[in-house]
């Protein structure tokens, strides 16, 4: 049955080559922990992606309850945390996932750096990877404000003060992020929009480029 459905689609869309592009390749020995245990360092990138997927899924569920306005934001998070079935788990996964993704990405960056994997011809993939790093930090910064509790609010105040210290563009960046002079209602909706639409959009594009390049170029050889 499945085979028939596959054939039906394949006859119209010719999907076999796409499938082969994605999954049909060999994994060399030097990155396979089954052959060399030390090759576990090559798992960090995959785990970063794994946590990213969890972040996207848990974030989607969080938005089913979260309300991005200063009157209701805190109440909705409190409700989510204390009343909603498994809400504490979903929010907990999103909270800890944010830290794990940073840790895993940091380790992945170090692995790529110390194996010299960013050298020709893989320079562009390194640049895209560092951009992903920045986007992730941006996601962490904007997501921190959303519960609208004390530490969220004052961490954002400090963060925006630091942004303001930048010469020339500082004031502009601050107003752009805060949505005005006051850190308040506008800031929360802006951070929500950045956290849920702008940065994830950029992230998915960059991840696509990252994976396309690694498939195109293959993984770097052993040292």
């Amino acid at each position: 049955m499945l085979q028939k459905i596959y054939d039906w689609v394949d006859e119209r869309l010719d999907i076999t080559p796409m499938w082969r592009d994605i999954a049909d390749h060999e994994v060399p020995e030097h990155v396979n922990p089954a052959h060399h245990f030390s090759a576990f360092v090559y798992c960090f990138g995959g785990l970063t992606f794994f946590v990213t997927v969890i972040q996207i899924l848990s974030g989607m569920f969080l938005t089913m309850y979260y309300v991005p306005d200063i009157i209701h934001a805190y109440e909705s998070v409190y409700f989510l945390q204390n009343e909603v079935t498994h809400g504490v788990i979903v929010r907990g996964m999103h909270h800890w996932g944010a830290s794990l993704v940073i840790v895993m990405m940091f380790l992945h960056t170090l692995r790529v750096f110390f194996t010299g994997s960013y050298k020709k011809p893989r320079e562009l993939n390194w640049v895209v990877g560092v951009l992903i790093f920045f986007v992730m930090l941006g996601l962490g910064f904007t997501g921190y404000l959303l519960p609208w509790d004390m530490k969220a609010y004052f961490a954002t105040v400090v963060g925006l003060e630091i942004a303001e210290a930048a010469p020339v563009v500082g004031g502009f960046a601050r107003v752009l992020l805060a949505g005005g002079e006051i850190i308040g209602a506008q800031t929360l909706t802006r951070f929500f929009a950045i956290h849920v639409f702008f940065l994830p959009g950029a992230l998915l594009g960059l991840l696509g480029a990252h994976f396309y390049m690694i498939r195109k170029q293959g993984i770097s050889g052993p040292l």
Partner: protein, 264 residues
């Protein structure tokens, strides 16, 4: 390559036969002799197992430590000591040093992180030799090691300097306390000018003291604190009879309500 099932599309606007298309042959790793393994399904299964173990640890963490939530944001509370998420601590800590704070803030906030992240972004061109082993490119490796050590050090310093107890207290969710202002005990409170000066006329905290209901003390503990004082609070400020003191202490221990007789 014969594409697909050789079907013809009516009014086909696609780019015709891509003869120059890269052939779909797996990368050749024969120059690195060894045992390669098919990604699908063999290697993916192993990755899946690593992912499952990782997920179990992740879920244990989530269950053991629920995500924190402090009280609702109060922009007027200027005494709050802010703290960013832990992975920004090293940047935050940098701004506390003299050479990167005050009139030099721009150095700590922009110049130093800018150089560090800029160098990270441009690493392939800064370190463009053919050597890949870290030991064969000592400059790049030692700069990276130095950067990692600095990040760990700054984060460590920031954690060590932060007053975690005060932080937990300043953000704690305060229970809604309704003080029974018609009670005898509240009348006794109203006559204690010394108490009111710090803890406020409504008992919920004032200029120099917190709400009297902040900690969950028993009646006996409340009496002891009033008589003997506490850090930042002088002893023996109560003016009245021993009986009045007991009434007030019971009222405080019972979160602002007159306790039921049988509870005694």
């Amino acid at each position: 390559m014969h594409r697909g099932k050789g079907m013809k599309f009516v009014g086909d606007s696609r780019i015709p036969a891509k003869e120059h298309r890269m052939k779909n042959i797996p990368k050749d790793y024969s120059e690195y002799p060894g045992k390669t393994e098919a990604f699908w399904p063999n290697f993916l299964l192993r990755e899946w197992m690593v992912g499952a173990v990782f997920l179990i640890g992740y879920l244990c963490l989530t269950v053991a430590h629920p995500a924190p939530l402090e009280r609702v944001a109060d922009p007027t509370d200027s005494g709050y000591i802010p703290l960013p998420d832990w992975y920004f601590l090293f940047l935050y800590q940098l701004l506390k040093y003299e050479f990167a704070a005050g009139q030099y803030t721009v150095i700590g906030a922009v110049v130093m992180p800018g150089i560090a992240f800029g160098a990270l972004l441009l690493a392939p061109w800064l370190d463009n030799g053919p050597e890949r082993r870290p030991i064969k490119r000592p400059i790049a490796s030692s700069i990276m090691l130095l950067a990692v050590i600095s990040i760990i050090f700054l984060t460590w310093e920031s954690v060590a300097e932060h007053d975690w107890e005060a932080a937990a207290q300043q953000g704690a969710i305060v229970e809604d306390i309704e003080v029974d202002e018609t009670s005898e005990a509240f009348e006794i409170w109203s006559m204690q000018q010394s108490c009111i000066n710090c803890h406020g006329g409504d008992m919920l905290g004032g200029a120099a003291g917190p709400s009297v209901f902040q900690s969950d003390y028993t009646k006996e503990q409340v009496i002891a604190i009033i008589k003997e004082g506490a850090p930042g609070m002088p002893p023996d400020q109560f003016e009245g009879t021993e009986e009045e003191l007991e009434t007030l202490a019971a009222f405080i221990a019972n979160d602002g309500q007159v306790p039921d007789e049988d509870e005694e």
